[in-house]
């Protein structure tokens, strides 16, 4: 088999047994890899009354066929399971170096069921598979855990680990590789924690076989030239994911003050120039990615002194900056470091804090509800106290660790005006009031409000372009509902191939057009798919995922945006605008 390894490791933490199962090529021809393959595996494991923390909830870690090859921006993996945050399909994908190493160890993926009575970690190499005692690392944060596991297993290992947030079942806990590469969303770290699985350690050097190697090598040279000439790649290389911040601020893409403000002059202090001046000390990359968009930061002195380590991405800058009204990059770097070490998602945590601040300032909740913390917009010390308490679920951390949806259930109807979730997942930091396609994309997203659940966001915001697909060329004006439904359908279908199953990074992958992506996929796998073929496969995967949501009681009635995201702003670039999601949904379902 080419690209794929043809093997998935099944682990049962109840019996501590494992089984290596061969996977026929026909499976990958249909489900492609990544979360496409994971969705089928999940469906096969489905049982009535499955709960996120029940032993039968499978953790499905899957790579794509190009992980471990020199193909740029595609050595990624997905983690899928029933989400403890939303109660529906959960998935999160991640770059770093783990996916390539898992392929080098001889596996396309790992499926983990059962629950261990004591903390364990999984060790995988081509020669040995073992479930090992993790009592020494249980309780350690993600940096400490990775360091200790590496010292025990060798510097040539790659590790994904959870931190205290995952151990304590925070429903938005993440899984972390090399400190700064996070499978952040939908709480996959908590599912690890529920199984008392601290980490997965992989080791191996078996190369990934490429079907048409000579042709691939020649084509790869052309592709690397494409990367060199692409302006978005240059911007990412220069300033990371926060390179889009200044434009987001100017165009109304950036949500502010829990989505209630359209203008914030101090917001300029979080832009690219300040990031470089205040906190940047280096750059890092993912496996085989020439873009190198990851940032290294350090705060050398002052109240937010922070060790050298992975820097905040755009989403974190937007959440802890614009949403909470804190124009201080040193503070945000400090908070980011805590979230990475503790292992939790900065989007859900930031949005949940903003949601509470909004309700507190509007008298819906009082200070007692917040365990005495004066959680007002801009109050750095209150935010810091909150962030420090999330992973251990103490004081206000107990409340915030529930996530927005469960807090809203405690409060009742009055919370509806302030919450920013779709299907229980907090919306990320791109405002659909300036981009109506995104409104439809958020609503329909399988895992809840999400900008990477399909290709709607990268295409509608303009940094990705597939001229071969007519619906992606002309999809109307950004502030109009016209032509959005057909574009969104195609973005879902092609996205299931592109960034879900092949698992291209939406940033690094955006250098390519559709033909280039499909050509690389075919050269590696030996398949002979067309764009239309992969659209068809993608459509099936989309329906499987939507079908899984249906099994847990979520359907088309839940495809609506929350009131906050449909309320026009009284100022700023998108003043007076709001998407009519009902109108677009009607067209979509027709």
């Amino acid at each position: 088999m080419f690209g794929y390894k043809g093997k998935i490791l099944y682990v049962d933490l109840n019996s501590k047994n494992f089984e290596v199962r061969g996977v026929p090529e026909s499976f990958f021809r249909e489900y492609l890899g990544g979360s496409g393959a994971a969705s089928k595996i999940f469906l096969d494991h489905y049982k009535e009354a499955l709960e996120p923390f029940s032993e039968d909830n499978p953790i499905i870690i899957m790579t794509g066929p190009m992980a471990g090859t020199p193909t740029p921006s595609v050595s990624r993996f997905t983690i899928s399971a029933l989400s403890p945050l939303t109660g529906i399909w959960g998935e999160s994908n991640c770059g770093g170096f783990f996916a390539a190493k898992l392929k080098f160890a001889g596996f396309d993926g790992i499926v983990i069921t059962g629950k261990s009575e004591t903390p364990v970690y999984l060790y995988i190499s081509p020669k040995s598979i073992a479930i090992r005692d993790a009592s020494k690392v249980w309780g350690l944060d993600t940096y400490e855990s990775e360091e200790l596991l590496k010292s025990e297993n060798g510097a040539d290992t790659e590790i994904i680990t959870i931190g205290p947030a995952g151990e304590n079942l925070v429903p938005f806990a993440s899984v972390v590789n090399r400190r700064g590469h996070l499978a952040g969303r939908t709480g996959m770290g908590a599912v690890f924690g529920s199984k008392r699985l601290k980490a997965v350690v992989v080791k191996g050097t078996e190369p990934v076989n490429i079907a048409r190697k000579d042709e691939y090598n020649a084509y790869l040279k052309e592709i690397l030239e494409v990367y060199k000439e692409n302006m978005t790649m240059a911007a990412l290389k220069d300033a990371g994911s926060n390179s889009s911040y200044d434009l987001s601020l100017q165009t109304g893409d950036l949500p502010m003050k829990n989505w209630s403000k359209g203008d914030w002059p101090e917001g300029e202090l979080l832009g690219t120039a300040y990031y470089k001046e205040k906190i940047l000390v280096g750059i890092e990359t993912c496996y085989a990615c020439p873009v190198a968009c990851k940032r290294l930061v350090e705060v050398k002195e002052g109240p937010y002194k922070t060790e050298k380590g992975p820097g905040p991405e755009y989403e974190t800058v937007a959440e802890y900056g614009a949403m909470l009204q804190i124009p201080d990059l040193e503070f945000i770097a400090h908070v980011n470091n805590i979230a990475n070490r503790m292992g939790f998602d900065t989007i859900t945590s930031g949005s949940t804090i903003a949601f509470l601040m909004d309700m507190y300032e509007n008298g819906v909740i009082n200070r007692d509800f917040l365990s005495g913390v004066d959680l007002k917009f801009g109050n750095k010390e209150a935010v810091l106290e909150t962030v420090k308490s999330i992973a251990y679920r103490k004081g206000i951390g107990e409340l915030v660790s529930l996530g927005s949806q469960k807090i809203a259930e405690l409060i009742g109807d009055r919370a509806k005006d302030y919450i920013t979730t779709v299907k229980g997942l907090e919306a990320p930091m791109h405002d659909p009031r300036g981009n109506f396609a995104l409104a439809l994309g958020y609503g329909l997203s399988v895992r809840g409000a999400c900008h990477v659940s399909s290709l709607v966001f990268p295409i509608s915001s303009g940094f990705m372009y597939f001229p071969e697909i007519p619906e992606f060329v002309d999809f109307g004006e950004p502030y109009s509902e016209e032509k959005k439904a057909p574009m969104v359908v195609k973005a879902e279908n092609f996205g299931m191939f592109f960034n879900h199953s092949a698992i291209w990074c939406i940033f690094g992958g955006s250098a390519l057009n559709a033909t280039q992506a499909v050509t690389l996929f075919n050269l590696v796998t030996g398949f002979d798919y067309s764009i239309d073929d992969l659209m068809e496969k993608g459509e099936r995967i989309w329906y499987i995922k939507r079908g899984i949501d249906n099994l847990f009681g979520v359907g088309s009635k839940d495809d609506r945006l929350p009131k906050k995201l449909r309320t026009p702003l009284s100022e700023g670039p998108t003043q007076g605008l709001a998407p009519d999601d009902e109108k677009m949904l009607k067209e979509y379902y027709n």
């Binding site: 978005t232 390179s243 200044d246 300029e268």
Partner: protein
């Protein structure tokens, strides 16, 4: 085409840059970039060079082949007009090659934040010269 010929383009878009250059505070803000940038317009044809290398002022020249720009941006005049009205998705324009940028990306990125006041200023300027008809564009 929003501009009937090069002369009109020079009068309107060139006039806008000259107005920005005459506003000392705005010019200083722009000139923090210390950029030498050239806009090459087609349909109609004109090139406008903004020399901000002294860090204080904007010097506007037309069809200037002597100065060597650090950043070179090529686009149709209509694309430029939409951009200064704040009605162009800059990222999309670059990705789709409606705007071709040559030069160091860090310099271009650093220039973006200072543009914010210019969008409203361009609209005000069009009203001032009696060209409100150019404000509403598709």
């Amino acid at each position: 085409m929003y501009f009937k010929d090069s002369e009109e383009l020079k009068k309107i878009l060139g006039g806008f840059f000259e107005k920005a250059a005459a506003d000392k505070d705005l010019a200083k803000e722009f000139a923090k970039s210390k950029l030498l940038i050239r806009f090459n317009y087609t349909e109609p044809e004109l090139s406008i060079t903004l020399d901000m290398t002294d860090g204080e002022n904007i010097v506007v020249t037309y069809n200037d082949n002597e100065k060597v720009p650090e950043v070179d941006m090529s686009m149709k005049a209509d694309t430029a007009h939409k951009f200064w009205l704040g009605k162009l998705n800059l990222t999309m324009a670059i990705t789709r090659k409606l705007m071709i940028v040559k030069g160091p990306v860090p310099k271009v990125l650093a220039f973006i934040p200072v543009l914010k006041p210019a969008y409203q200023m361009y609209k005000d300027y069009l009203k001032e010269i009696g060209r409100e008809d150019l404000i509403e564009v598709e």
